[in-house]
């Protein structure tokens, strides 16, 4: 049985609980066991541009905790994922730094050696579980549903550090969407940033970037954007909702976190996926399933 320690970070429990809820429901159905660790704290991501040392300590402490449990990490947030990967990479390149970090961690009886693998939720589904196993669990596939996959910067790049997928032509997320019966549309700005890192710093720029992406995927014929990161989800859900009033955005296109999409196709009930917790309405997604069952019964 596959077993991981779940790293949810700061944003998900506070603002995107549906991501964790849906991920747990899906993972449970796939027979993966998740271990809780209440001791995990911030991954260090927001500290990266102001204080490298503190950033590394924040990340390393989490990695050391997972190491103590002897488990690999399942990370839901792509910024947490990127930040933990980055810190591990930097520490492993520099033995002196590692020693310094370990002196700090020793005060809590922790040690970082790099034994824990940091894995994003989507990577686990794709590589550890496998598309064929997921396919067997699909009971209510979608039809005629067009999805725009948004990969998320901090998982994809820098690719030599994150090793998530091909940074120029990634495919794992598209394959994961296709297995649900949905179509993954081609869109030009797929690999661009959602704008979230500048939210609060330069809101206009942050929203400009989100708006461009939304317009682009809407033109490509997508019914929904699909993401695997709380920051991207917030940008396309809560911030898009703000944009509707602030920018008179007309091409509204709701966003869904991947486990919600997969969960529906697996026949998991709506409440266990938190569909109602999104700001923009995504409950219409179920109509794409109904059509299928209607076709079956005819």
């Amino acid at each position: 049985m596959m077993k991981y320690t779940l790293f949810v970070g700061c944003n998900i429990p506070a603002r995107i609980q549906q991501y964790e809820l849906a991920a747990r429901s899906v993972v449970d159905k796939l027979g993966i066991k998740l271990v809780e660790n209440q001791e995990f704290k911030c991954c260090g991501y927001p500290m990266q541009t102001s204080d490298n040392k503190t950033f590394l300590l924040m990340a390393a402490r989490n990695l050391a905790l997972a190491e103590k449990e002897g488990l690999d990490m399942m990370v839901l947030c792509k910024c947490c994922f990127g930040s933990l990967k980055k810190a591990a990479h930097q520490i492993q390149q520099d033995p002196e730094l590692q020693e310094e970090i370990n002196r700090f961690l020793a005060e809590e009886g922790l040690k970082y050696s790099g034994a824990t693998e940091i894995k994003h939720f989507l990577s686990i589904l794709y590589h550890d579980v496998g598309i064929s196993v997921i396919k067997e669990k699909i009971s209510t596939p979608f039809t005629e549903l067009n999805i725009a996959t948004h990969y998320g910067c901090h998982a994809l790049r820098p690719s030599d550090v994150t090793q998530f997928d091909d940074p120029v032509q990634p495919s794992i997320f598209d394959d994961l969407v296709k297995v649900t019966g949905a179509k993954s549309v081609d869109w030009a700005l797929q690999l661009e940033c959602c704008g979230a890192p500048l939210m609060g710093v330069n809101d206009t720029l942050s929203m400009d970037l989100a708006e461009k992406k939304l317009v682009d995927c809407s033109r490509a014929g997508a019914d929904y954007v699909c993401v695997g990161c709380p920051y991207c989800q917030m940008q396309f859900d809560r911030v898009q909702n703000m944009m509707v009033s602030e920018r008179e955005l007309t091409d509204e296109i709701p966003s869904i976190v991947y486990p919600q999409l997969l969960g529906l196709a697996m026949g998991i009930p709506e409440q266990s996926l938190g569909l109602g917790m999104n700001m923009l309405d995504i409950t219409t997604l179920e109509s794409f399933i109904k059509m299928e069952t209607e076709i079956d019964s005819e």
């Binding site: 506070a14 204080d51 661009e192 609060g200 330069n202 720029l205 400009d208 970037l209």
Partner: protein
């Protein structure tokens, strides 16, 4: 006679203190969104709020909170069993002593005039139970050394005064049977300390006997749509409801930053101590302001403190109010240019636009002040001096930030940058383009390298770094430049 005088003195100090403290709840406020409502307006708002509670739904909520959170303290039990046992021992036995001993003339004697005779052994047992609770508290603070459990003067005062009250009380009960002379002496000690404790109660941590239940009840029936005047009052009251129990410190997501940086104000419970003083006197030194600004901004808004607070304090909203007020000060907050601003951005509709933009403009102006492009003309030669050399070397080799020297100015980084693409005239809007920043580093031009708007508007999306044919770690270099600049502006 003398005794009576002391009792009335203590009671009147207590009453005046109580009125003063409670009036302060209506007089002070934190945050920029509080409209200027007079204390009287706030009091009438509170009365209106309370009178709206008399319906079945609200009363059943209050009843549930009273039993579960105030009497049984389930909140604390969930967090830490040992602490719950400690608090229940002190709470239950102290309440017992208060009712059956301190107030015996009022409560016990009317029941039966000889009742107090059989009380003696029970009083001793109750005293011993309080002492056991206090021992656990000392054990936690000084032997177990619970992480980030800080002991302030107020915590120590509370423990000491309780120890003296109980010990003198125990000796009193024991000497009662042996020596009348000693008994009388100890009686005076016991009474004096008890009365002192009573008089000082509204100003001490012990006041949480009143404020913590009040906070739990308020937060159970209030939300963000409640009357802003009442929210303002509640937030000041919540400062008195904090018992400095440190639950939030232990759960704080950025506690590791405190461990490394040592700024007390990063920890929520310590911020509460600061705010308690600040709300009454808003004049603070530049140094203190810097420390609290960093402390309160270094927060991921993960809500954990709010979820775990045994006093039910809505810390999330309290930070929101306090943060807005503190960053409006002239002193710029460097951390505003980092993802710590995310939560503020998400909530920008809750803040007046002018007040929202002002602190951001302030900090950007300071960080970009040195970037003077007009001084760099073709006639002005670039000076490659020691300073430039030092800057280049300070870029270091960590994360290969020394790769700037590989750049041959192909401008790929600037071509793929989504920020550059977003502007019609990027040079005008951003001062420099990414490749120009890299060239500035190579030339040792620190003022340009760390001061362009481009740098502070970098998304860290890593497109530039991914697409560099020379393997220049562009984004990592940018991150490093930001940390250098923020360090310089400290």
């Amino acid at each position: 006679m003398y005794y009576k005088f002391m009792v009335y003195m203590a009671l009147s100090v207590f009453a005046v203190g109580l009125i003063y403290t409670v009036f302060n709840w209506f007089r002070f406020s934190i945050g920029i969104n509080v409209k200027d409502v007079s204390p009287w307006g706030r009091i009438t708002a509170a009365v209106r709020g309370i009178s709206s509670l008399f319906n079945k739904e609200k009363l059943s909520i209050l009843g549930r909170v009273f039993v579960q959170d105030i009497l049984l303290q389930k909140h604390i039990k969930k967090q830490d069993k040992l602490r719950w046992i400690m608090h229940m021992l002190i709470f239950s036995a102290f309440m017992f002593l208060l009712i059956f001993h301190a107030l015996d003339k009022i409560i016990v004697t009317p029941l039966h005039d000889r009742f107090y005779l059989m009380m003696n052994p029970w009083l001793i047992i109750a005293g011993l139970i309080v002492l056991a609770g206090l021992s656990i508290s000392l054990y936690r603070r000084y032997i177990l050394k619970v992480p980030r459990l800080k002991t302030s003067g107020m915590d120590l005062y509370t423990i000491i005064i309780l120890v003296i009250i109980i010990l003198s009380g125990l000796f009193m009960e024991i000497t009662k049977l042996s020596s009348y002379e000693y008994y009388q002496k100890i009686w005076w000690v016991h009474i004096s300390v008890c009365l002192f404790g009573l008089a000082y109660l509204p100003f001490s941590k012990m006041f949480h006997m009143i404020t913590t239940p009040l906070s739990l009840l308020c937060n159970a029936v209030m939300d963000e749509n409640s009357d802003p005047a009442n929210i303002a009052t509640r937030q000041v009251m919540e400062l008195d409801a904090c018992t400095h129990c440190n639950t939030c410190n232990q759960h704080c997501s950025v506690a590791v930053a405190y461990d490394n940086l040592g700024n007390d104000n990063i920890l929520p419970a310590e911020r509460m101590s600061f705010l308690k003083e600040y709300v009454a006197n808003k004049k603070i030194s530049a140094k203190k302001l810097r420390s609290i600004q960093q402390g309160i901004y270094l927060c991921t808004n993960c809500d954990r403190c709010t979820v775990v607070c045994p006093a039910g304090i809505n810390l999330r909203e309290l930070w929101f109010s306090a943060r807005e007020e503190l960053i409006q000060r002239k002193q710029p907050v460097d951390l505003m240019m980092t993802p710590f601003s995310y939560f503020r951005g998400l909530n920008h509709q809750r803040i007046d636009k002018e007040k929202y933009d002002l602190p951001l403009e302030n900090v950007l102006n300071v960080l970009t002040a040195d970037c003077d492009l007009s001084a760099k003309t073709l006639d002005a030669p670039i000076v490659l001096n020691q300073e430039a050399n030092e800057f280049r070397q300070a870029m270091g080799i960590s994360e290969r930030t020394d790769t700037f020297s590989y750049c041959f100015s192909c401008e790929n980084c600037s071509t793929v940058c989504p920020v550059v693409i977003n502007y019609a005239d990027p040079q005008q809007s951003l001062d420099l383009l990414p490749h120009q920043i890299i060239r500035s580093v190579a030339l040792g031009l620190k003022d340009l390298a760390t001061g362009s708007k481009m740098l502070w508007n970098c998304l860290t999306c890593y497109q530039c770094q991914e697409h560099c044919p020379q393997g220049v770690k562009v984004t990592d270099i940018f991150n490093k430049l930001k940390t250098v600049s923020i360090e310089d502006h400290k």
